[in-house]
Amino acid sequence: MSGLEVKTVEEEGLRVEVAAGLCESRDERLERVIRQHIERHKRRAAAADRAFTAATWAVAAVALGILAFIVITIFARGLGTALNPGFLFGKPQAIKEGGGIWPMVVSSFYLAALTVAMVVPVGVGAAVYMSEFAREGRVTRLVRLGADVLSSVPSVVFGIFGMVLFVVYLGLGYSLLAGALTLTLLNLPTVMRTSEEALRAVPVSYREASLALGASRWETVKRVVLPSAAPGITTGAVLAVGRIVGESAAVIYTVGIFVRKIPVSPLQPAAPMAAHIWHTYTEGALVSDWMRIANGEAAFLLLLVLALNLGARLLTRALAKKTGTVKGNE
């Protein structure tokens, strides 16, 4: 019974199908085929979309998870120590336990300030040349190539180069200045490239308006282009500060590792945090609480770098709002 029914229905369906095929015009057939495919595409695309979204989400989650793992591990081991004023503002000890890291904190900031004071003017100057004055050609290609090569050189190589050139040959000795010069070379490519990006993002129409009013190229750069690019340039500079305070290899060879005095002159040696952490971990066993000190210092350094990155974002947004260069987005 039931088999017969099904057959009938099938027959019915087939008959209708055939009838439709026979009497529909070419346009109707095309419309039907296209509609069928659109339907199928819609289903497939939606499924693929979901799958791809899930996959990218998973990858992003892994990246975020690793970051979270690092942050949590470091903070779990050292944040308690780092947030203790006696540790942060305390004097380091040579052989006793209970020493602090204040001279290292000061050294890091001193080194960062010195480096920024050199790398920003040079980097921005080079970027202005590249984006505003140079005609695209062999020279600009060479400069860009040089910057790319320079930025892929490992920092330890810069450290050794800095030691040979600044510490020994120029006789600066282990000093903040030798370190700052080395770090200037290390950070120049990135500062230059981020500044160049920021300058290129300034609309051509601003430059045209200024030039059409009778401004020279330099006046245009000074009064219109640089102010408009300031948010981007500032972000680059703040990120450079993050890299400077986090740099160890280049600093170990040029500034110092176990100096316990707060540096006054840039010609004095010092022990910026990252270098001091390395030293304390590898050779710090003279003080019994070396592990506590290194962990606390690492936690503070991480906190500082995170704050700098966050600060760079906020600063960019605030500056962009003020100058009105970025409207609405980000």
Binding site: S205, A209, S210, A212, L213, G214, A215, T323
Partner: protein, 264 residues
């Protein structure tokens, strides 16, 4: 030199001007006399070189690598392309308003004061006076007098374009070039700009590029019709005459076809 009330207006003459972008010839044999204290419209289909011709007048083409001008472009009898000619001075005398309103991301006040500050005016009262009188001339003062310190980017498109005109007026040019100044504006804003131009022509020589023929007919005294024969050819001036003659009695058949809307 006998034109009415117009000692300071500038007069341009172009003779046999060719413009090249690298190997590409964009303009050929342009001859134009741009009269003092009048409005000259450059019209023609897209890509016919009318904007390029305009940019020859204040040497904005210099900014494009590979651009080269042949022939004579003279302002009050002086070749502006001669060796040693002061381009900065030229651009001070010949102001320009662009297609898209391009105020600086600064306050309304600072936009207008940009030129005067550039030339070293620091006195607050003088700057205030310049800003006010330029904004009055650009028919914008009443709308912005209460918000001189707020960002120019907050103004409407039409206001921004009038601000750009005020910014040009503040350096007291002799000639004002406008490159399709209304193409990004609505009809009401467009009409305000047109009224303003008619008012300004007693004091300035005005050259306007427009793809809107009605606009050319409404505001201009002289009209030059540009065209390219076919893709890749240089732009040429097909006909140049009083606007009245161009629109009522064109001599060239191509001009007639264009203004009656049969191509372009």
């Amino acid at each position: 030199m006998t034109e009415v009330a117009c000692g300071a207006c500038g007069k341009f003459e172009l003779e046999g001007v060719n413009l090249y972008y690298n190997g590409f010839k964009a303009l050929e044999g342009i001859d134009l006399r741009i009269e003092r204290c009048s409005i000259t419209a450059l019209i023609g289909p897209s890509g016919c070189g009318k904007s390029s011709a305009l940019r020859c007048l204040n040497r904005m083409n210099d900014l494009i690598p590979g651009a080269r001008v042949e022939g004579l472009v003279s302002l009050d009898g002086e070749d502006v392309y001669q060796r040693g000619y002061d381009v900065v001075e030229l651009r001070k005398r010949v102001g320009m308003v662009f297609q898209k309103p391009n105020p600086f991301p600064k306050s309304v006040y600072e936009n207008v004061a940009y030129g005067p500050r550039l030339f070293g005016i620091k006195d607050k009262e003088t700057l205030d006076d310049i800003v006010e009188s330029s904004l009055v001339s650009a028919a914008l003062w009443d709308e912005v007098k209460g918000k001189l310190k707020s960002s120019a980017l907050a103004l409407s498109g039409g206001q921004q374009q009038r601000l750009c005109i005020a910014r040009v007026l503040a350096v007291q040019p002799e000639v004002i070039l406008l490159d399709e100044p209304c193409s990004a504006l609505d009809p009401i804003a467009t009409q305000r700009i047109e009224d303003l131009l008619v008012e300004l022509k007693s004091r300035y020589t005005i050259v306007i590029v427009t793809h809107n023929m009605q606009q050319a007919a409404r505001v201009s005294d002289y009209t030059a019709f540009f065209m390219i024969e076919q893709q890749g050819d240089p732009g040429r001036v097909i006909e140049y005459d009083t606007t009245n003659a161009i629109f009522t009695n064109p001599k060239d058949e191509r001009t007639e076809r264009y203004i009656t809307g049969r191509f372009g």
